[in-house]
Amino acid sequence: MVAPTGNWWLPASLQEKKWVTLSFVWCMILFAMMPLWHFRGGQNPSGIRGKTTPAAFRARVDRFIKEYQVGTDHGYPLVAPPPGADIYLQAQMWSWTPVLKLKKNASYTLHLSSVDVNHGFSLYPVNLNFQVVPGYDYGLRITPNIAGEFNIICNEFCGILHHNMVGKVIVEE
C-alpha cells in the first residue's frame, strides 16, 4: 500500500530466487510436454482440418451412409465402414447421424462437422471431447481400443433440447 521511495529496484532474497527459478523451470517442463506428446504420445487434437459447407457435408454424410449402411438402430441408419475408411458424423440440433459400427484396434478417419450451430462431440465413457464447428471439417484418426457400446453426448449448448442430443458408436471385437 505504501508508495516505495528511493531505490526500490533491489535484488531479491535467496528464497525468492529459489522459488522463481523452480517455477520457471516447471513452466518450461509444461511447455515441453505438448510438442513431446505430438511425437511420442497417442492422443493429439491436431487432426486434418478443412473447410466445408453445411450442404456439402450433408451430401458427403448421405453418400457415406448409402455406401456402408447395414441396418437401422432406434430409427437411425446403422453404418459399418471397413477398417481404414473415412467415416462421417453429422451434428445437427439435436441428433448425431449415423450410428457407427467399428472394429476394435482398427483405425478410421472420423470427419466431424455441424450443419447448423456449434456442437460438442463427447464420447462417453471414454471421455474424448472435440468442438464441432459449422463450416469446418475436423478429421481425426481414431483407433478404438476397447469393444462395447459407447454414446456420443453433445456437450456444447445448442438449443433448448440440447440434452437430448445423444448418438451411438458400437465397437466390435
Binding site: P11, S46, R49, V117, N118, N155, C158
Partner: protein
C-alpha cells in the same frame, strides 16, 4: 497508504488550485488518507449495483445446483438454460466488473489521496453500464437470449442483447480511461511521491488488461450485433477466437484485481510486507504481456487452428502468465509471514500462521482466496489448459469445476473479504451481524471447494457441462451414467447450497450495513467496538526500518517455503496423473 498512521500524507502545498480542491476532501480517521467525496460516491454506487447483480446471480445459482442434482431436478429445461445464462452473465460480468470499477476508483483516488479529474464522466460511464446491464438482463428474463454466457453464433439472441453488452463494455472502458487519467494527474499534482504503491500498480495492471479485453469485446460484439440484425455474415470459428480474447481476458482482470486485493488486505490486516517490489511488479507485468494470447487455450480441440498455433499461444504465453501467478502465490504469503514475524510472532515454522487473525473476515477471506485459487484453481487450470489433456476435459464438468475455484473461490472471495474493510473505511459504517461476518468467508470457501471438487470429479467421469438431464430420459438412445456421478451430484448440490447461503449472508451484511449500519465514531475506534475489523481498529505498521528488519529478512520465510513446496508437489502429481489418464484413452490424432 502512509508509512505510519501519524504521518501527514504527502500534501502538495503551495499550489492554490490544489488547495481549493483538497479543501473539499474528507480525511479518513483510520488511514489518514484524503478522500474525494465524488470518487467515494462512485465507489458506493458501483459497489451497491455489484451486490444487486450478485443477488440475481446467486438466486439463479440455487436453481442450477438444485437442477443438476438429478434427485431434486428442480427447474424445467428452458428455465434451466435461462437461469444458466443469467447466472453466468450476472456473476462473471456484471457483479465482478461493477465491483472492479469500485476497486479502480478506490486504488486511484483513495490510495493516492488524489482527486477524481472528471466525476461527470464517471457518472456517464456508470449510466451506460447500468443501461447495458438492464438491457441484457431484460432480454434474458424475457427468454429472447437463451444463448448462455458464450453466445456462440450461429446461435442467435435478440439484437438488443448484443447492444446491451456493447453499452456495458463502453462504460467500463471509460472508467478504465479515467483511472489512467487520475494516476497521471495525481502524479503531476504530487498527490503522492515515489513509485506507485503496489496495490495501485496491481489495479493498473487490471485496468490495462481491461482495455485490451474491451477492445476485443468491441471487435467481436459490434459485428455480432450487425449479424443479429441480418446485416453481415459471421464465421463461427473466428467468433470463438475473438470471443475468448474477451471472455478469458476478463478473468485476467479479475486475477490482477484479486492479487492487488491480496496485497492490500495483507497490509491492512497483519501489516504484510512487500518482500521485493521488483519481483512483484515484474509478475504483474507478465500478466499484461501474455494473458490475451493465452486465451487460445479455449480452442485447443477446435477444428480451426493448427497444432503449432495452439502450442505456441497456450504454452509459451500461458506459462509465462502461470509463472506470474506462482510468483504472487509465494510473495503474498511470504509478505504475511514476514509481517507477522516483524510483529513478534516468530515461534517455529508456522507460529505466524497459528497466531494470524482468523476471526477477521478480511484476513480469513484473503487467505482462503489465496489457497483456493492456488491449490484448486491454478493447478486444475494449468492442467486442462494443456493441448492434449484438454481432449479429456473440454466442455465437461471439469471446466466449471475449475473456474468456480478461480473466479468464485478466488476473486469473489477476495471481493467479499475486502468489503469488510470497505464498509468501515469508505462507507464509514460499523459492519452489522459481525459474528456472521466472521464465519461467512469460511462457510463460503468450504462450500465452494466441496462443490467445485465434485464438479471436477464428475468431469473426470465424462459428465458434460451445461446439461439439464443427466438421466437422459428422452434421448434417442438409452444411456446410463456411472453410478458414482449420483454421489458427486449430491455433494455438488450440498456444497453449492452452503456457498449460496454464504453469499446470501454476505449480501445481508453488506446491504444492511450500508443502509442501516451505525456510523463510526472516534470512540468506536478507541473502545474497539464490534463490527470493526482489527486492521481498522489498529492499523498495523505498513513499513519497518532498523536492524530487526535486516535480521528478519536474513531469517527468511521458512514457513512459506514449506507451503509452496507442498503446493508444487500437488501440482506435479495432479498434472502427470492427467497425462496417465489421457494415455489410456482411444488413440486419436
Amino acid at each position: 497508504m502512509t508509512a505510519t498512521t501519524s504521518n501527514e500524507p504527502t500534501a502538495a502545498s503551495g499550489a492554490s488550485l490544489i488547495e481549493r480542491v483538497t479543501s473539499k476532501f474528507r480525511r479518513c480517521p483510520v488511514t489518514n488518507l484524503k478522500v474525494d467525496p465524488q470518487a467515494e460516491m462512485l465507489i458506493k454506487v458501483n459497489a451497491v449495483v455489484a451486490v444487486v447483480c450478485l443477488l440475481i446471480g446467486v438466486i439463479a445459482a440455487i436453481g442450477l445446483v438444485l437442477t443438476r442434482w438429478q434427485l431434486v431436478h428442480f427447474l424445467t429445461a428452458p428455465m434451466y438454460y435461462r437461469f444458466l445464462t443469467l447466472h453466468g452473465l450476472n456473476m462473471l460480468i456484471f457483479f465482478i466488473i461493477f465491483f472492479e470499477m469500485a476497486v479502480l476508483y478506490f486504488a486511484s483516488t483513495l490510495l493516492l489521496s488524489a482527486r477524481l479529474p472528471a466525476a461527470k464522466l464517471g457518472w456517464l460511464a456508470f449510466g451506460l453500464m447500468m443501461i447495458g446491464m438492464l438491457l441484457v438482463n431484460t432480454m434474458v428474463f424475457m427468454g429472447k437470449a437463451d444463448v448462455l454466457f458464450t453466445s456462440y453464433p450461429p446461435l442467435k439472441a435478440h439484437p438488443i442483447y448484443y447492444l446491451g453488452v456493447i453499452l456495458f463494455a463502453v462504460g467500463a472502458l471509460i472508467v478504465s480511461g479515467m483511472f489512467f487519467a487520475t494516476i497521471i494527474i495525481a502524479k503531476k499534482e504530487k498527490a503522492y511521491e515515489g513509485g506507485l504503491p503496489l496495490v495501485t500498480f496491481g489495479a493498473l495492471t487490471a485496468a490495462i488488461i481491461a482495455v485490451i479485453t474491451l477492445v476485443h469485446g468491441a471487435i467481436v460484439y459490434i459485428p455480432t450485433f450487425l449479424w443479429s440484425l441480418g446485416l453481415m455474415e459471421i464465421d463461427p470459428q473466428v467468433f470463438r477466437m475473438l470471443f475468448w480474447g474477451l471472455g478469458h481476458s476478463t478473468q485476467q482482470i479479475n486475477v490482477a484485481a484479486m492479487v492487488a486485493i491480496w496485497y492490500l488486505l495483507a497490509g491492512l490486516t497483519v501489516g504484510g510486507v512487500v518482500m521485493n517490489e521488483k519481483i512483484s511488479r515484474t509478475a504483474f507485468f507478465l500478466y499484461i504481456l501474455f494473458i490475451s494470447m493465452a486465451s487460445a487455450h479455449h480452442l485447443l480441440v477446435d477444428p480451426g487452428m493448427g497444432a503449432a498455433w495452439k502450442v505456441w499461444n497456450t504454452s509459451y504465453a500461458m506459462y509465462l502468465a502461470v509463472l506470474a501467478s506462482m510468483i504472487h502465490g509465494f510473495t503474498v504469503p511470504a509478505g504475511v509471514e514476514m509481517g507477522m514475524r516483524l510483529r513478534g510472532h516468530t515461534q517455529g515454522l508456522f507460529g505466524w500462521l497459528r497466531r494470524a487473525p482468523w476471526g477477521d473476515p478480511g484476513f480469513s477471506g484473503m487467505w482462503l482466496s489465496l489457497v483456493i485459487f492456488g491449490f484448486f484453481g491454478g493447478v486444475t487450470g494449468v492442467t486442462i489448459g494443456t493441448e492434449q489433456i484438454n481432449i479429456i476435459a473440454h466442455n465437461t464438468m471439469r471446466i466449471p469445476g475449475h473456474f468456480h475455484t478461480t473466479v468464485v473461490g478466488g476473486t469473489a472471495l477476495a471481493f467479499f473479504a475486502v468489503t469488510y474493510y470497505l464498509l468501515p473505511l469508505v462507507f464509514q459504517k460499523r459492519v452489522r451481524f459481525w459474528t456472521l461476518a466472521k464465519i461467512q468467508p469460511w462457510m463460503f470457501g468450504i462450500g465452494i471447494v466441496i462443490m467445485a471438487v465434485s464438479m471436477i470429479l464428475m468431469g473426470i467421469f465424462g459428465a458434460p457441462r451445461r446439461h439439464w438431464d443427466s438421466s437422459f430420459a428422452t434421448s434417442p438412445f438409452p444411456m446410463e451414467m456411472h453410478p458414482m456421478l449420483e454421489v458427486f451430484q449430491a455433494t455438488m448440490g450440498i456444497g453449492g447450497l452452503i456457498a449460496a447461503t454464504a453469499v446470501l449472508i454476505f449480501i445481508l451484511i453488506a446491504v444492511s450495513t450500508v443502509f442501516f449500519g451505525k456510523r463510526i465514531t472516534p470512540e468506536d475506534l478507541v473502545n474497539g467496538a464490534s463490527g470493526l475489523p482489527q486492521g481498522v481498529l489498529k492499523l498495523p505498521a505498513q513499513q519497518h526500518k532498523g536492524p530487526e528488519v535486516a535480521e528478519a529478512h536474513k531469517n527468511g520465510v521458512r514457513g512459506t517455503m514449506v507451503l509452496v513446496g507442498i503446493f508444487f508437489v500437488v501440482f506435479a502429481l495432479y498434472y502427470f496423473t492427467n497425462w496417465k489418464l489421457l494415455s489410456m484413452a482411444w488413440k486419436v490424432g
